[in-house]
Each structure stands twice: as C-alpha cells, then as structure tokens.
C-alpha cells in the first residue's frame, strides 16, 4: 500500500496539454481511475469516509520514514465508487502522496487543477467533494508535522 503515485504532476500536465480537449482528458481520467490502486474492503468504513462528496470516497494515510530522510512521508490511498472521481483522486495522489507533511501543506492543488483546465469541468458540487478530500489530507499532514 505504498506504491508510488500512478503519475507525476509533470506527466499529468504534459498529458493534459497533449490531449487538448475535455473529451480526451475525461477518457484519460477514467483510465487513471481504472488503474488507481484500490482499497481493501476492510478500509471502506465510516471513519475513513470523506464527507462532502456526492459519491462515496474512502481515504487512508500511512506514515513512513525513509532511512535517508529526516522528515516522514505520508502515503495516501483513496478510492471512490465513481470512476471519474477515482481519476481525480489519482491527480490528488500525484500532488500529495509520498510527500512530507510540510510539502503537503505547501502544495497548491487548486493551481494544479486550474493548470490542467479541470476547473472548467468541475461542478461546484464536485469541487466541494474534492475540497473535502484536500481538507482531510491537509489535516492528516498537519497532525503529523
């Protein structure tokens, strides 16, 4: 459960630019969603559920201190029952997972969504849902920092 993220932020930006339009980008999000590492069934419990999403989203975090690092790393795994949301989770993991708490707290996820052009395709409801996940991740990082 501490696989590296599927894709990096740089790769995401390149891919989204190359795809160009929403049709292709949305297909790509679905592909990412299918590839996302899934949670074990026992992790899909109420305490791991992220509120504010229209679909169900569960999120867990594990901490790890690599020998060569002085800060811990936060490994995040999350899953939704909606495939496009799983694609968005893959983006969040690209931004956050495997990073240190201070990196997590500094990361500008909104800027990345805007850079990807996703802000134009996210309804305010889905934005709230995403923000619920971001809040949860930031709270975990703040506690660990």
């Amino acid at each position: 459960m501490n696989q590296p993220p599927l894709i990096s932020v740089e790769e995401l930006i390149d891919e989204f630019d190359a795809l160009g339009d929403w049709e292709g980008q949305c297909d790509f999000l679905i592909d990412l969603g299918f590839e996302l590492e899934k949670l074990p069934p026992e992790a899909k419990v109420e305490e791991n559920r992220v509120h504010g999403c229209q679909s169900n989203v569960w999120l867990i975090a594990e901490f790890q201190r690599p020998d060569d690092a002085d800060e811990i790393r936060v490994n995040i795994t999350a899953e939704s029952d909606a495939m496009i949301v799983n694609g968005l989770i893959a983006i969040l993991l690209a931004v956050y997972s495997g990073k240190s708490p201070s990196e997590i707290l500094k990361a500008d996820v909104e800027g990345i969504f805007t850079r990807l052009g996703l802000d134009r395709h996210l309804s305010s409801q889905r934005r709230n849902g995403l923000f619920g996940m971001v809040k949860r991740i930031r709270a975990i990082a703040a506690q660990a920092a």
Partner: protein, 418 residues
C-alpha cells in the same frame, strides 16, 4: 421502434423552435438534449418577450403608483392572477397568492396555517416520495406545535399504499401534504381520493403541484384541494415566482407569513392590521416582471393543451422505456408502470455510478440530473444513494430519447461494461 412515425399530431419540432435556447449547438457541435425539465424548464420566446416587454415598456413597482406605468403593471399582474385562477379553476383571484416558488408556498402554509391551527397530538400526513420542500417545513412546524409527522407507506412500485390509508389517516390527521406527481418516481398520486378521504376525518389537503401543474390539468374545486402550490420556472415561466392557492375561508383565518410593506391595512406604532387577500400574504415587492411573464407561460401551455402535452410526453416516455429496457443491461427504472406515471425516468444502471453517467452523458450533449433530487427519504427507501433522472417537456422529441439511449451505450462503453 424505428418503424414508429417521427412526428405526432403535436409538432414537437415546431414547438422546439419556439425555445431560443435550442437554436445554437453546443461548443462540441452536438445539439442540446435537455432532459432536466423536472428541475427547471426552458423558456419559450413568448415568455422571454413578455418579461422584456415589461422592462422595456412599463416597468414600475406593483400596487403602489397611480401613474400610467404603475397602473399597467397592476393590470398585467391581475391578468396573470386571473390566468392562474382559470388554470386551476379556483373560485376567486383573491385565492391566488404570488410567492417566490413552491418552497415558499409550502413554508407559508406550514407557518401561517400550522402555527395557528396545529395542536399537540395532531398529525401531518406525508409520504416518503415527497420533495424536501414538502417534508422539512412540516417537521419544523411539528416541532414547534407538538404535532407530529406521519407517513403513508409506499407500495413496492412507488405508489401510495392506499390500502394502508385507514391506518394512518385518522381523526388525528390535521392535514395531508402530498405531491401531485413525484419528481423522482413520476408517480401521479390520487389527489382527489385523498382529498375525499381526508374530508371524512376533517383533514385538509395541500397538494404540491410543482411537477403536476405543468403537465396535467388540475382543478382545485373538483378535486377538493385546500392548498395548491407550484413554481413558475417549471411551467416554462420565469424563475423567482410561484403560486399558492388557498381556499378563501382558510386564507382568511391565517396569520401573515412575512410582514412588512403592502401586506398591511394600517400600521400604528404598537400594532398593525392586515390587508385583504391576497395582499396579506404578499409582503414586500413582488417578482414583478416574472409574475407578469408567468401569465404568458400559462397561455403557452393552454394553447398547446394538456391533452396534447400529455399524449406527446407519453410517447416519449414509452419510447424511452421500451428502448432502455430492451437494450441496456442492468437498467432499473424506479417507480410505477406507465399508467401511474408522468414523463420522468429515474434510473440506476448496474455497475455505473450516477455521477460518472451524468458526466459522460453531458459529453454527448445529454443533460440529465443525478443525485438524490431533494428526496433523501425516498432514496433511503429505494436503498440507493443516487439516481440519474431524465425528465421530459414539450420541446423534447423522439430524437432526444434516441440520443439519451445512445449516450447511455457510450457511457457503458467508456466504463468498460461492454
């Protein structure tokens, strides 16, 4: 299905042409397939023109000025009031109150009637298919008055279980609050029977007509309806305006809901007296141009005729259900069979999350709504967290239905189900 003629006596293409929003294709070149009329309807040119006419030719506040614009506004508003009266066959125009919509209308009744007349032990009879707008105001007033809410059970196919009515409709029932047509299941409820049975135990009946008034004739006197509510925006009229019909004897006994300008007879420093009906319930400035243009929307619907609207929407519904049931594996349509349903299909597809479906249909220009549609108790009962709803209006065509079904195939493909 393809052998069916593409047109009906009701010329959907011509009618569609009266709605400017359908004039332009989407940015991806696809036509707009608008299947969310149950949430809010598109507007025909006559409605848009009427609202513009008001702003361009005679706009002024209502019931305030004797000058020419003021007088014209008053005249237009009273003309709409008369059209509403005629539409629902109320006895007098003083029984027609302009509100901001169904939500406000129901809140008004729950507050103005409920606060005054509900007693501890009284029961408000609801059912699980109601929109939150016809549940939450009653819960609130029940809490405040010591009354309680009670629910008529539903049958497995999403109708009121009338067999159970004797158990839940009793001498304790003060009011039945029921939707004319469910915004999720499409169920058309037997309002007349409920009203009659209610009368036998001294209960009033409020009908939430948000979905029914735009699609079928409603006759408050024939049906024995005490309160009827509906929203302008769902009957091809403007948003921001709605209607409360209340039987005159009831409205007269009720206290005001909002207080302030226009609703008073005389204000003294310590107390005030109330204006006559319907002004007593129309505090503040009305949605003036919207209420005026609502009259144009009613004319529009009347000109089409409810018979023709019903026949047209029924064909769309039949065609959609036939194709979906035939072609889409794991398709579940919630709610009753055709004979009890209006033109709404709320579906779940096995293996497809409603949010994915809505996003993928949108890529095909097919606009549907997904979620709980403000009916959480109903979704709890159905045991699903969300449904995807396609709802039809006068401008929809058989081609729209075909595009819906094709888009669902597309979505299933994208989600690797085929």
């Amino acid at each position: 299905m393809s052998s069916q003629p593409r047109t009906t006596s009701f010329d959907a293409d011509t009618i569609r042409g009266e709605f400017p929003v359908f004039d332009q294709p989407l940015t991806n070149g696809r036509p707009v397939t608008f299947l969310d009329t149950a949430a809010s309807a598109q507007k025909p040119r006559v409605v848009i023109d009427k609202e513009r006419e008001c702003y361009e030719q005679y706009y002024a506040n209502a019931y305030r000025g004797v000058y020419q614009f003021g007088a014209r506004v008053d005249e237009e508003l009273e003309a709409t009031r008369e059209k509403v009266r005629d539409l629902i066959n109320a006895e007098e125009i003083s029984e027609i109150v302009f509100t901001s919509g169904t939500t406000m209308s129901i809140n008004l009744v729950a507050d103005s009637w409920g606060r005054k007349f509900l007693r501890p032990g009284d029961e408000i009879l609801l059912n699980e298919m109601e929109h939150h707008a016809n549940i939450v105001p009653w819960q609130q007033i029940a809490n405040e008055t010591g009354a309680s809410v009670r629910y008529i059970p539903l049958t497995d196919d999403g109708r009121l279980d009338i067999q159970e009515l004797d158990n839940c409709l009793t001498e304790k029932t003060a009011i039945i609050a029921v939707t004319g047509m469910s915004n999720v299941l499409g169920t058309i409820n037997p309002v007349e029977e409920l009203a009659r049975r209610g009368k036998q135990v001294g209960a009033l009946i409020l009908v939430d007509g948000a979905q029914s008034v735009p699609h079928m004739p409603v006759d408050v006197r024939k049906a024995g309806i005490d309160f009827l509510t509906f929203s302008g925006h769902k009957i091809y009229g403007p948003s921001g305006v709605g209607v409360l019909y209340g039987r005159r004897e009831l409205l007269r006994e009720m206290d005001p809901f909002l207080t302030g300008g226009h609703m008073i007879d005389r204000v003294f420093k310590e107390k005030s007296t109330w204006a006559e009906l319907p002004a007593r319930f129309e505090a503040g400035t009305l949605p003036i141009a919207q209420a005026i243009a609502l009259g144009a929307a009613i004319d529009f619907v009347n000109q089409l005729s409810f018979d023709a609207i019903h026949a047209h929407e029924r064909r769309l519904l039949e065609h959609a259900l036939a194709r979906l049931q035939d072609e889409v594996p794991g398709f579940v349509c919630h709610g009753p069979g055709l004979e009890h349903r209006g033109a709404i299909i709320s579906m779940t597809l096995e293996g497809v999350h409603s949010e994915d479906l809505a996003v993928l249909l949108d890529r095909r220009g097919v606009f549907v709504r997904h979620g709980h549609h403000c009916t959480m108790p109903l979704h709890d009962l159905l045991g699903v967290s969300a449904t995807t709803r396609a709802s039809f209006g006068v401008y929809n065509t058989l081609d729209d239905v075909d595009r819906l079904v094709d888009a669902i195939h597309f979505a299933r493909e994208k989600l690797r189900l085929v």
